[in-house]
Each structure stands twice: as C-alpha cells, then as structure tokens.
C-alpha cells in the first residue's frame, strides 16, 4: 500500500420516504482507518446510539407504501478512490447487534431508580430516590424537610399514574425546574465571623461548571461533603482527573468559542459548507493540544506546529496529512502558519465574504488577543463612498488610509488599522497570498507608537518580543472570567495581576494556569 494513501470506514443510514424523496445521515462519530492487511484482518467496531438517529417513520407499516426501507451504508472514505489503483476494503463479515445495552435496565435508569431493599415500599423508596437525585442536581446534601416537599408532590401525583416510576418522573421534572438546579447559587453565611470563602460544595460546583460545563460527579461531591476537596494535593489530583475526563472537552470548546468569538463564523456566508466544521474545530483542537500537553500560552501567538486534519492541511498546503481527525504536525516558516492568529477561522470570520477585512481583523486582535478593545464607532460615521471614482480606484489599504484621515475617525483607526493591515497576506478564506489583483501585497503598517509591523511575521515577532506580559494578562483575564462565570471588575485587578505574575513564573504553561486560577482567592471566595 502506498504510504500516502489511506482508506477508512464510515457508517451512514438513509431511508426513502417516497420515490425520489429520501434522507441520509452520517451516524458514526468518526471515520475509522483500516490498517490491517488482507491476510491479517481485524474488526472495526462502531457504537451507534439508536435513539439519536432519524429512522424511517414508515418502517413499521404493514403495507409496502409509503416506502419502508432503510439502508445502512458502510462507506470507504479514502484519498485513493479513482483510477485503476483505487484502495478497496475487503469486508469478510458484518455483524450487527441491536438493540445493545451494556446492562438492563440501562445505567441512566438505575442511576435514578437505584437498587434498594425498600423497592416495595413507595414511601421509603421514594425518599431514597429523591435524596439521591436532589443531591445530584442541587450539588449538596438535602434535608429531610426538603425531601418532604417533593414527597408531598408525589402523593398528589400518584393517583393520576399507574406506576411508581411514571409518577416519580413527573416529580423529578419539577426538581429540574428549581432555581438551585438552574442557577449556580451561593449561600450567604449568617455567621459574620466566618471567612468569605465559598463552601467546599460550592467549590465542587464551580469546578465542574468550569471544567465540565456540568454538575459535579459523586466523587467530587463526596470529597466536598467530607471537607477534603480543598486540600492542595486532593484538589490538584481532582483537577488532573477532571481534565482527563471526556467532559473536559466541553471546556476547550466553550471557552475557545467565547474567547475567540467563533460565533462570528455564523455571520459570514463565504465558507463552503463541507469546510465549516473543520475550520470551526481547528482553534479548539489547538487549545486542547496546548492544554493537554501543558504547553506555554505563547504557542497561541506562534508555534512550530499546527493542529489540523486532512481538509485543513490541504487548505494550508501542508502535505501528507490524512483523515478527518485533528493532530499536531510540525510546520516550517514557509507554511506561514503556527499559533491561532493565522487559523482559517479567525481570518475567514473577519472578512467581508469577498476579501479580507483589515478593520475587523484589527478589532479582533485588540479585543480577543490583547484585551484592549477599541471604543464603539461614533454615531454618524460617514460610509466609504464607493460611488466616488477616485475612491473606487484605490486599493483597500489606500481606502482605509483615506477614511482614517477624517477627523472623526483617526483616533480609533490609528489604533485598530495597523494590526489588521499586517494580516493582508491572508485572503477571505485564510489562504496565504503574495499579490492582490496583480499588485504585490503590502502588509506593512505602523502602530500608533511608531512600531513598524512587517506583515504577520512582524506581528508575531513584536508580540513575543514586547507584549508577552500584555498577552499573558489578557489570557488570565479571559480564563478567569470564564471560570467565575461573570465579568471581572476593577476590584479584581490585583488578583489578576498576581495570577499573571504567577503564570509567568510557571513558564506561561496553560495547564498550570488552570490550577493557579482554581486555587486562587478569586475562585474560592464569594
């Protein structure tokens, strides 16, 4: 097999709802590479959640019409699918087992309707179920009085249902509408002599919301109830465990989406649909890599690697990267990538659909990377008059200079524009270019402080030479605000400064920063 070729398997389900009317969907989570040779076959295994799949609603009809058929496709996703030497996959056996449960009743059920010797007594068993459920959703132990309330509801509902479980499901639904489940709450201690520290149970909730976007699990709750969670070695071990848990993936995703403003991708229409997911995913995968390997946050400014899949590698002109999964690959200076400033997501969402938009890119740099957002534009800003033939003749950069020279605009634009112009080597899809309409790209600009920025290379060099402190502080600010779930205020300044200093002492390592934030005063106090 040619080392540059690969074949992988993907599962699809499709159905006909009429002649010439159909639907289909990819049902496997990811393509699985086929690496075995023909004489040494291997099993390729997919787990599919049946409840997540759109089935053919007519599949159980007794009549042959409307059409009842459903198709399970095994698709060979390969980069060698044409010509004589196409890569075929030999399949010997296919085994389908459905429905498949690891246990019956499933765990999701037994987690709520727990095993108990009291199952026969609805009053006692009901309290047991409620005790556990309320503790989980409220993230704290519950009092018998609180359980009484819900048992009261249970008693009212019970005659309307035939089974205990149906009744209890209704009662539990009400528990999910309580404010203590919906909001993160902090109880004010009535004892003024006590410290302003949040309780360990509140710490457990903060941790799980921060790193999992979810409620604490049993282990966290138990440690908090025992008063052990705040012990430094216990806390460090828990943070490590939480970051290794698949739920931590939500942290990377939610934080990066908010930090970089990835929802901006929804307001541009020029990204081809098949590329959207990859483009959106790249900065998240990059962050994940920095986090998991505890690398320096300065990698966000520049790195000698990229985290890409095949699609993006092709987009960036990086050779020999196969398959849809993201991975770290070494790059050279010639690739003009590295860090998150030059990911396609940033460059594409800060474009106007046809071409780059230096203004948007400049604002993005100030807001997202340097945490120094410019003020909003003043009212009555004159539009750039594109009916004026003189203006139409200008290059984009000339137009910006022309616009900037208006009195109402200059103060802000002098601050914004140079950052954006330095990105002019990247087009609206983030592809590197050296000419625009047959003119060489001029990506040189001068900052307000007369610092010259020579293109993206210049920006990176300047940031790493002169602005590391500012970027570190910006990163601490963004992460801390996310961890606390609130905007930071002037009063938090000293804490942020101190966290920034500690981060720098820790060689700017992202994993260390997470732990520093979690053990900080800010994170532990009201």
């Amino acid at each position: 097999m040619n080392p540059d070729e690969y074949a992988s398997l993907r599962l699809m389900l499709s159905a006909h709802t009429s002649n010439d009317a159909n639907f289909s969907q990819v049902i496997s989570q990811r393509d699985i590479p086929v690496t075995a040779s023909a004489d040494k076959p291997e099993f390729i295994h997919f787990d599919i959640q049946l409840s997540d799949i759109q089935r053919n609603p007519f599949r159980k009809l007794p009549t042959a019409y409307p059409r009842r058929d459903e198709f399970l496709h095994i698709q060979n996703v390969s980069n060698a699918f044409k010509g004589e030497d196409k890569l075929s996959v030999l399949i010997d056996t296919i085994e389908i087992s459905a429905p498949f449960y690891e246990q019956w009743p499933p765990k999701t059920h037994t987690n709520i309707f727990i095993e108990s010797a009291n199952k026969g007594n609805e009053q006692i068993y009901g309290r047991e179920v409620l005790n556990r459920f309320l503790r989980n959703v409220w993230r704290r132990p519950v009092t018998p009085l609180e359980v009484d309330q819900f048992m009261g509801l249970f008693a009212k509902y019970r005659p309307g249902f035939s089974t205990f479980e149906d009744t209890m499901v209704e009662v539990l639904a009400t528990a999910l509408a309580t404010p203590e489940f919906l909001y993160l709450t902090q109880r004010v201690s009535t004892d003024k002599t006590k410290s302003t520290n949040i309780s360990e149970l509140e710490l457990a909730s903060r941790l799980s919301v921060f790193l999992w976007s979810s409620i604490p699990d049993d282990e966290l709750l138990k440690l908090a109830e025992q008063g052990k969670l705040r012990k430094p070695d216990v806390l460090a071990a828990q943070v490590k465990r939480m970051l290794a848990d698949p739920r931590a993936r939500r942290f990377s995703q939610n934080f990066v989406e908010q930090w970089l403003g990835l929802d901006g991708l929804n307001s541009v229409t020029h990204i081809p649909a098949p590329m959207r997911d990859s483009i959106q995913e790249e900065p998240i995968a990059f962050f994940d890599e920095v986090l998991k390997q505890n690398r320096s946050i300065m990698d966000f400014i520049h790195s000698d690697y990229a985290v890409v899949n095949e699609q993006l590698a092709a987009h960036y002109g990086l050779a020999k990267i196969y398959g849809p999964h993201f991975r770290k690959v070494p790059i050279t200076a010639q690739s003009n990538r590295g860090g998150i400033l030059t990911v396609a997501a940033m460059l594409a969402m800060n474009s106007d659909g046809k071409d780059s938009n230096p203004l948007k890119r400049g604002v993005w740099m100030l807001k997202r990377i340097l945490h120094d957002p410019p003020p909003p534009p003043p009212p009555n800003v004159p539009e750039v008059d594109l009916t004026n033939p003189e203006i139409l003749k200008m290059t984009l950069k000339e137009r910006i200079v022309d616009h900037r020279n208006k009195a109402a605009c200059i103060s802000c634009h002098a601050k914004i524009d140079p950052w954006g112009i330095a990105f002019e080597n990247y087009d609206a899809m983030g592809i590197f270019r050296t000419s625009i309409k047959n003119k060489p790209v001029d990506a040189t600009s001068e900052l307000f402080n007369h610092q010259t920025l020579a293109g993206i290379d210049g920006v990176k060099r300047y940031l790493l030479a002169e602005r590391q402190d500012q970027f570190a502080r910006a990163m601490v600010h963004k992460l801390t605000a996310y961890a606390l779930g609130r905007p930071l205020s002037f009063g938090d300044r000293a804490d942020i400064d101190s966290l920034t200093a500690q981060l720098r002492q820790h060689d700017d390592k992202l994993g260390d920063l997470i732990y520093l934030i979690i053990s900080s005063n800010l994170f532990n106090s009201n």
């Binding site: 009317a21 959640q49 999910l176």
Partner: protein, 464 residues
C-alpha cells in the same frame, strides 16, 4: 450529531418535561397584544400534492386545461380548471410566479414539507425544517382560543422527512401531527372535556406551588445580586401561573354547541365527496365557534398512495398521483384538470360558506376576516416552481381580490417548464425569474397583526 443530542441543554430538557416553565431567557415574541374581543383574524391553508396541469401553448389542451388563468390582472379569463370559481371571482386572487428559491431544483416529491416553511430542506441528506407560516401566526394568538391551531391531513400523522403528512411545523422545525379522522377531530373540538388536561393542569399547579415555596426558602440565604436573578426566575414562574389561569379558563368554558347537519363523521377518503366536505365543514365549525383561528389541511402526501389518492374517485378518476404522469395520454390534461377543478370546487364551496355567514362577533362576514389559501408546491410534473396558488377573502385584513397577480419576469404565459413529463424538467436550469413565496407570507403575517418583515430568512413583502 451524537454529541449534540447527548448534550441536551437544560433549556431543551425543561421544554420536554411536564412542567412547562418559561425561563427568563426564553422570551416569546414581543407582540402587539391581541385582544380576545377584537374581530377574529383567521388563516387557513389547503395544500394539494402533485401540482396542476400546465400544457404547452401549442397543445390543443392549453386553452381549456391549463390551470393558470389567461389574460391580465382584472380581465383574466378562468380556464375550465378554475371556472367553478367564477361566481366567487370578486372574492379570490390567483397568483403566479411565486415559489421558494431554495426548492426550485428539488424534486416535487420532497416538497410538501416546505410549502409553508420555505426552509432549505433540500432533496437529500440530513433534514431540518423551520416554523411554518400558520404556526408563526398561531403562536401570537395562542391564548385567545381553546386550540391554537387545527392541523389536518388526509393521511394523518407527521409522515417522514421529505414525505410530510402535515403542513404545520413548530418553532423548532418539528412537524405537528395532523388529524385525519373526522370523528376524532369533531370529538376534540366539540365533545371531549379533556379530563387529561384537567389533571395535567392540577399537577402543574402543585409543581408551581412547590417551586415558589422552594424559591422562597432559598431566597433568604442568597446574596443581593443572586436575589435579583431569583426575581427574574420568579417572574417567569408567575408568567407560567398566568398561563395556567388561562388554560383553566378553557377547561371551565363550556364546549360550543354546533350544527352537525353537514357532517359525515364516519366518512373515509374513498367516499371522497363526503370526506372532503366533512373536513371542510369541520374547519368552518371550528372557525364559527372560535375554537381556533388557524387551520391547515393537506390533501394527501406527495408521491401518491395512501388514502388521498382516492379523492379523485369523486370525479370518477383513478389514482390522483397517476394523473400527473399520464398527461400525454388521451384526455390526460383533461383528466388532471378535472381533478384540480374538483379541488377548486370544494374550496369554493367552503369559501362561499364563510361568505354567507355573518361574523358572529365582529364586522362583515366570516370570509372578510379570513385569509384562505389553496395551493401546491409544484406546478407541472414535480417542478418546484411557479406554485399554483389561489387565495380568498381577507377583505377586512387589507386584501383586494378579483385579481390575477403575475410576479417575476420572463414567464408571463406560464410556459416555463410547461408540458414536461420527465425528470429532466424539474432538474432543469431555472431560466425565469420568480419571487420568493415568503414575500406573500410576510404580507399575510403583517396583515394578521404580526410585526415582522421577514420569514424563512428572507426579507420583504408583496406590494399587493
């Protein structure tokens, strides 16, 4: 995909549970509060699959059996397909040159799903729909009537993706099951006291009591800022309470008594005429009793089969869907036209009935306060363009009738795609300009009192 559904957000979860609690960030439409005592404004849409006959001009059948009228805005001449509506000429408007841009190259078999939504459902792959225009109106007047809408079809249920058996889709784009048995519809509207609803209501009340009690005890222990947040929460709980009070009102309101003389509740589609007329009569009675102000009725599913195909028995013809495939056989155009003529005739009978009934609590007759629309998402043979649409009524809403309105450019004689009977037709290049049907929807919504200037992602209304 799997990720998404595994990580249902809390909001989504709450929607799905028994307690319908409107959380603060869930704000429903801001709307100019409609008043129960205002003259009702109604919307009804009838959908027929399979489109209409569209012969070429050189075809001898064109003069009599082409669906679209011939002539200008006021001096149009109805062909034999629609001449049954001649007595109602001043009450109807016929439209050409309207279609959903995203569907113009999608096979007609997939199209009933998006007629009222305009969603880019496409022809293949994953499926997602959006809210239909009837529901966009219904949700703004939800509290005024016992039923927010009456959703009917001959086949019933929701059907499947690209094989809808309902015309109505909710705000999440989920299909709303259609009712198809006259007896059930009648019972729902006029008989069942809905014991279940009373029990559900009682449960919701108990749940709210508990939530308020629980919130009170929590509030005492919270910081000032959190108490503020809790206040928003309580506001939402109170809104829910108000909704319950309204719901209670309907349980306590006696069910209206209606005249059942024209109903044949056991009728099935194979007794086409009786079935057809009974279903229309049910819409009429639902409107007359102000049980609802919104109705949709789908005459079968695209691609034929199932009960609706039997409706053409009413005029002695075979399966309805086949009529579109057999237009090139002897009397083909005439047969399809005859079936479409019959559909128009029944629509006309319904319109006439609204016209003959004075508005029970308001101005004019019922038709003047009702926008009734009749149409299909294909014109000729699976061609998802130039939808054949008739509307009637709505005078008090601001609609001027007695007109044939041609929109778009380059297709003044409705010849684009005419005469096709192969699949190359619907797949063919879009060569004439048509306007988005959503523009008509925006006009309708605005005149029904919904403040909006866009629908299905498209902005703009029709200047009619």
């Amino acid at each position: 995909m799997n990720n998404k559904s595994a990580l249902l957000s809390r909001r989504t979860y709450l929607q799905g549970t028994g307690v319908a609690l409107a959380l603060p960030w869930f704000e429903t439409f801001a709307l100019g509060k409609p008043n129960a005592n205002d003259t009702p404004k109604r919307f009804v849409s009838i959908y027929h699959p399979d489109g209409v006959g569209l012969p070429l001009k050189k075809d001898p059948a064109w003069k009599d059996w082409s669906w679209f009228p011939q002539g200008g805005e006021k001096d149009f001449k109805l062909t034999k397909v629609l001449d049954v509506l001649e007595p109602l000429r001043s009450e109807i408007t016929i439209y050409s040159g309207l279609s959903h841009p995203v569907a113009r190259k999608v096979h007609g078999h997939s199209n009933a799903d998006q007629y009222l939504t305009g969603a880019p459902i496409g022809g293949h792959g994953a499926y997602q729909n959006t809210i239909s225009v009837d529901q966009a109106y219904a949700e703004t007047i939800d509290s005024l009537t016992r039923h927010s809408s009456l959703v009917m079809s001959t086949n019933g249920g929701v059907g499947g993706p690209r094989g809808a058996q309902t015309q109505s889709f909710n705000r999440e784009g989920r299909p709303i099951p259609a009712m198809n048995k006259p007896k059930q519809i009648f019972d729902m509207l006029f008989v069942t006291s809905n014991k279940d609803a009373a029990a559900r209501l009682a449960r919701s009340k108990s749940a709210l009591d508990l939530l308020i009690e629980n919130t009170r005890s929590l509030g005492r222990e919270l910081s000032k800022r959190d108490q503020e947040t809790l206040k928003h929460y309580l506001d939402a709980v109170r809104d829910t309470e108000l909704k319950l009070v309204k719901a209670q009102k309907w349980i306590d309101t006696p069910i209206p008594k209606v005249d059942t003389r024209n109903l044949h509740l056991e009728a099935e589609p194979k007794e086409a005429k009786l079935y057809f007329q009974t279903m229309y009569e049910l819409i009429y009675l639902a409107f007359l009793s102000d049980s609802t102000r919104v109705a949709t009725f789908q005459l079968g599913r695209e691609n034929g089969e199932g009960p609706h195909d039997l409706l053409s028995l009413a005029v002695g013809l075979g399966a309805a869907h086949h009529l579109t495939h057999e237009v090139k056989k002897p009397d083909g155009w005439k047969n399809l036209g005859t079936y479409n003529r019959y559909q128009a005739q029944e629509f006309g009978r319904f319109v006439q009935r609204l016209k003959d009934t004075p508005e029970p609590n308001g101005k004019g007759n019922m038709l003047d306060n009702t926008f009734a629309m009749h149409g299909s998402a294909s014109s000729s043979f699976h061609l998802s363009r130039n939808y054949p649409i008739i509307s009637a009524g709505g005078k008090n809403l601001g609609f001027n009738n007695g007109r044939y309105l041609k929109f778009g450019k380059g297709n003044e004689d409705n010849q684009a795609g005419a005469g096709i009977d192969t699949d190359s037709g619907w797949q063919g290049k879009v060569e004439v300009e048509e306007l988005p049907l959503t523009k008509l929807f925006v006009t309708i919504l605005q005149r029904l009192g919904v403040e909006t200037n866009s629908f299905g992602g498209l902005t703009g209304s029709l200047n009619i």
